[in-house]
Amino acid sequence: MNISKNKEAGLKEAVKKYVSPGCHISIGGFTASRNPMAAVYEIIRQRIDNLHLYAHSNGQGVDELIGAGCISRLEIAYAGNGRFAPTCIRFKKAVHKGSIEVEDYSNYQMTLRFLAGAMGVPFLPTRSSLGTDIVSKWGFSSKMRKLDTRIPDQKLMVIDNPFGSWGDAPKLVLVPAINCDVTIIHAQKADREGTVRMEGLTFSDIEQVKSAKHVIVTCEELVEPDFLKANPDQNQIPSFCVNAVVHVPYGAYPTACYRYYDYDPNYLNEYRRFAEDDGLYKIYIEDFIYGLKDHEALLNKMGKDRLEKIRADLRTGYAVGLDRR
């Protein structure tokens, strides 16, 4: 949190200040939508490694962070990217190689874990996963959990309903709260004070933001506080939750940003081709991330025509008739 009235920052300095090697991090969005990709690429460019990443279904951003070697531990529900990658490719390779440690939960459980963090309670209950291997198999060993004070000793716990027959739920799974060092989201609109307006689905961004010690918001449009105050019922995140506001047009590219642009099917399909081959992937990282100064350079590399193709239609919020094969 931060109560200053002007949190406008550059992306490089915000990432440098709030994301450091070994820190616990979460990113917003879902599969191919509203991932904070400009920030993801900046983390990769600054070669910040050994990160502990918490994700529900955060898709493209997760795979790129893993592919670039930034992640050592991952707690996740779904490592896929819709039709673009039923299983995220660099994630799959990293698991096969044993280069990351993974703990599996479900999407609701990860959401509840962020919500517990946001609420300031140590856990929340659910009826999900009773009788499954999500309960019985722990990716992080008990020993590792005991040695690391930053993660709970238990992956989760199954308890008898302490209220007896009340609520008609004899057993419950308790999932531990997440309070990460930093959450990064990309939103449609924000002001310099840190108030945020997302459009369309908010996924679990709100819970992720409120559970984090520090928050970076990148936005399509940096607007005046009065603009957001004129329709306050459309805003979701109060300014005091946010540490840095960074104006980054196309900041979710190549993932979609509802009412602004669609995902870029060419990019995501090409990415898959690169990701499947270790040699090509090295070239990808060099050409598309390390070799570029910033996100604007990536957009310039893609060119105006390509961005024009994915521009959202005003009526629907996506690029109608976009060739998505």
Partner: protein, 256 residues
């Protein structure tokens, strides 16, 4: 009457769509499950409501979304919510039993338990998949689930390498013993057949075989035995069902 030409995927989609009742709240993912939900809504279940785990409710779906977070699910909805809302609607004791979930997986066993996490040893997997996503939540909470599978021996297995999503667990009392809500799997649709689960034993049995497919071929492609004595030939899609599927549900042929 002449038999309309149709593809296998169209047959599978319609077979699943026929399982959806009018008034169901339909949870679906992307791909064939979404097209099945759209087909049901346009053909036999006009009062069904399609919703996604990302929180989009009653999306118009003018174009086929390629992910459940696709902007196409956000356009012309009744509510754009979030994950916490969507899963709560399924865990909710009033709305949850009315939800039918459409799933897919890498492996299934005779009790309809699903694996979408890993093949081989979980701690050193031969093949790692995406993991649960919302699948375990849906399978835990909702009234009924329908699962799409490829009909292969390595997918219909005696014992799952990892139980990601609960079916009937180990039999009729499995869910109760585990403390799960009362719902469970009701149907499995493959590229050869449709299957249900016996009222008493909760074991999978053959309900229908696709035209031209024998019971023996179906059994030859499964890693466990099922009862085939109650099976009938699956009615092929009608001309009207095909027309709706092709013209309304997936005109760009992105899925079918």
């Amino acid at each position: 009457m002449t038999m309309p030409d149709y593809t296998l995927k169209e047959l599978m989609t319609i077979a699943a769509a026929r399982e959806i009742r009018d008034g169901d709240i339909v949870f679906c993912g992307t791909g064939i499950s979404m097209v099945a939900a759209m087909a049901a809504k346009n053909i036999s279940a006009p009062n069904s409501v399609i919703f996604f785990e990302t929180g989009a409710i009653d999306s118009l779906l003018e174009e086929v979304p390629l992910a459940v977070s696709d902007s196409r699910v956000m356009f012309w909805t009744s509510v754009n919510g979030n994950l916490a809302d969507a899963f709560a609607a399924m865990q909710n004791r009033i709305t949850g039993p009315h939800v039918v979930g459409i799933m897919g997986a890498a492996q299934i066993d005779k009790y309809g338990n699903l694996n979408s996490t890993a093949i081989g040893d979980y701690f050193k997997p031969k093949v790692r998949f995406s993991g649960s996503g919302g699948a375990c939540d849906v399978a835990s909470f909702v009234g009924r689930t329908i699962t799409f599978m490829q009909h292969e021996k390595r997918k219909f297995v005696e014992k799952l390498d990892y139980i990601t999503s609960p079916g009937w667990l180990d039999g009729p009392d499995g869910r109760k013993k585990a403390g799960l809500p009362a719902g469970g799997p009701v149907s499995v649709i493959t590229n050869m057949a449709s299957m249900g689960f016996d009222e008493t034993t909760k074991e999978m049995y053959l309900t229908g075989f696709f035209p031209g497919i024998t019971s023996q071929k179906i059994l030859d492609n499964m890693g466990f035995e099922i009862d085939v004595s109650r099976a009938k030939e699956v009615e092929p899609p009608t001309g009207y069902e095909l027309k709706v599927l092709r013209e309304k549900c997936d005109p760009q042929r992105l899925i079918l």
